[in-house]
Amino acid sequence: MNTLLRILAWLGASIVAVTIVESILKSLKNYQIMGSDIITDYGLNIICLMGISISLAVSLQLINGYTGQFSLGHAGFMAVGGYVAAFITKSTLTGANPPDQSLLGTLPVYIFALCAGALAAAIAGLIVGIPSLRLKGDYLAIVTLGFGEIIRLVIENIEAVGGPRGYIGIPKFPKWTWLSAGGFEGTFSSLSWIFLFIIITIIVVHNIVESSFGRSLVAIRDNEIAAEAMGIDTSFYKVLAFTISAALAGFAGGLYAHLYGQLVPNTFNFVRSVEIIIMIVFGGMGSITGAVLGAIILTGLPEWLRIMAGLRSDSLPSWINKSLGYLPDLRMIIYSSLLILIMLVRPQGILGNYEFSLSKLLGKSSKNLPKTTEEKKA
C-alpha cells in the first residue's frame, strides 16, 4: 500500500512537473528574440530526440553501468518496441473501425501500444538474455551485437511493416487538451510523452539501483564469483536487469516511432547501439546523471557543430573558416575520436559514478538520522 501510494505520488508529481515545463515553453512560444522565434518546431524536435536518447542511455546504464554486462544490442530492442507500437496504433487508428478521434478515444490506444511495444521488447530481451548471459565480457558483447543485427535483418524481411524501405504513415501523438490551443501540434505534443517517460525511466532505474536488487547488480559487476558466493542468484538478476532495460528501450522506441511517424530498419543498426554506448561511456559508467549528461551533449552534437560552423567570419584567417565549414560533416568522426580519447584519458567517463543529488546539494540531510556512536562521543 505504501509503495503504491509512493508510485502514485511520483506519477502525480511528474505530471505536474511536465505541465509546468510545457506551460513555460508554451508561453515562450509567443515571444521572439531579434525577430526569430525562441521556440521553433526544429528546436523542439531536437529536445524530443535528446529526451529519447536520455531514456535509452539511462536504461542501458542498468546493464552496462550497474550490472557490468556489455550489451551491444540496445538498438535492436528499441526497434522491436518501435515497430510493435507503431503497428498497433497504425492498424487501430487507420484501420477498419477507428475509435473516436477525440483525445479520450485515442489516448488509450497510444498507451496500450507503447506498453505492448515495451512488453515485446522485454520478451526479446528475455530471449536474448537467457542464453547470452552464460557468456562474459567481449563474447557477450558480440552475441548481443549478433542478436541486434538479427532483429534488424528480420524486420527488413517483414513486408507488412514496409521491409527495408521503412514503415511510413505511423500516426503521430495526439494533442494534449491544455496545449491544443495556440497552434501546438506535431512535435510539441510528443514532448509531454517524452518528458513523462524520462522521469519514469529515471525513477525506475534509480529505485532499482538503490534497492537490494540493485545492490546485487553492483555486486555482480564488481566481482561475479564473490557475488555468487554471497548467495546472489547471478543469472536470475542478470536476466532480470536485461529484461527491464530492454522494456525501457522498447518504450523509447515506441516514442521515437510516433515522434517521426516513420521507421527505417537501417537506423537501428549496430552503429546506433554504439552511439548509445558512447553516451554512457562519455557521461560515466554507473551514473544516471552521467547518462543524462552524455545523452544531452552527444545528441545535441550536430547542433553544437552547426553553431560552431556559424562562427565563420571575414575577420578570421581563411584556414580557420575553412575548417569550421567542415565541422557539421565531422559528427561521426568527432564521436569516435571522443570515444577513443575518453578511453585513453579517463576510462570511467567524465562523471565516473558520481550521482547528482538534491539532498546532497542542500546540505547533508543527516539531521533526522540517529547519531552514530562516534558522533555521540564527540
Binding site: 556489455f70 542464453p131 547470452s132 552464460r134 557468456l135 565480457g137 567481449d138 563474447y139 558483447a141 558480440i142 552475441v143 551485437l145 549478433g146 542478436f147 543485427e149 538479427i150 535483418l153 528480420v154 527488413e156 524481411n157 564469483i225 552503429v271 554504439v274 554506448i277 561511456v281 560533416d329 565531422l330 561521426m332 568522426i333 564521436y335 569516435s336 575520436s337 570515444l339 577513443i340 578511453m343 585513453l344 576510462p347
Partner: protein, 299 residues
Amino acid sequence: MELFLQQLINGIVQGSIYALIALGYTMVYGVLRLINFAHGDVFMLGAFIGFYTANLLGISQPSVGALILVMTVSMAGSAAVGLVIERFAYRPVRKFSRLTSLITAIGVSLLLEYAAQFVFGATPKSFPTIFETQNISLFGNVTISNDSILIIIVSIFLMVMLNLIVFKTKLGKAMRAVSFNLDVAKLMGINTDFIIAFTFALGSALAAAAGILYSVHFTKIDPLMGLLIGLKAFVAAVLGGIGNITGAVLGGLLLGIAEIMVSGYISSSYKDVFAFLILILVLIVKPAGLLGSAAQEKV
C-alpha cells in the same frame, strides 16, 4: 548437381577472403585477448590504398606484375596503419580492463570508417582493372573465373607463408609464447611489445591482401565495405575457434560455403541472418569453436 558444384566453387572463393581476414582477428585475439573491431576497416583501407596506387601509377594494362605491385604496396601500407593503431590506441589502454580495450577498438573502427567517408567520399568507387578476368568452363555449365582461381591460389600461398612464420621461425615461437602466457613470455626475455606490434602488422597485411583480392573480384569498393565483412570474418574466426590459425581458415571456408548455399537454395536476404545465427549458436553451444580448446577459468 551442377548448381551445387557451382555454388561450392563460389563458396570457396568467398570463404578464402573470409579466411584471410579471420586470420588477423584470430592472431590478435591470440596475443591480446582483444576483438580488434577495426580489422574489417583495415581490410577496407587496403582496398583503397590499392585503388589509389593503381591510379597514381597509371596502370592501364592489366598484368600479373601490376597486381603483385599493387598488392605489395597495399599490404605494406596497411601493415603501417596496423602498427599506428596498435601503438596509439591499443597499447595505452592495455593496462585497463578488457572492456576498455573493446570500446577503444569500436572507436577506432568507427573513426576509420567515417574518416574514410570524409576523405574518399561515401559513393562507391570502381576498382581499376589490374587483372584481366575471364570465365573458364570446367565441365558442363560449371564455370570458374580466373580471378577466383587467383583468390584461391594467393590465399593458400599467404596461409602457407603465415604458417611458416608462426611455426618455423623464432619470431613465430615468440608469438606463440605471448599468446600462451604474456607475463611468463615477458619473464623469458621476450620483447612482448614488439611481438604484439608484429602480430598487428602481419594481420593487417593479410587483411589488405584480402581487400585487394575482394576488389579485383567484386570491383566495387566503398568506405563501409569492411563493416559487414569484418563482422562475418570475426564469425568465421569464432566458428573455427578463436586464437587458432587452422581454425580461422576452416571457419572462413565453412562460413563462405554455408552462406552461398543459403543464398542459393533458400533466400539471399537471409544469408546475413544465417551468419549471425551461426555465431550465436557456436558461442552458446561450444564457445571454444570447432578447433579451439576451452580454457578453464581460474578464480
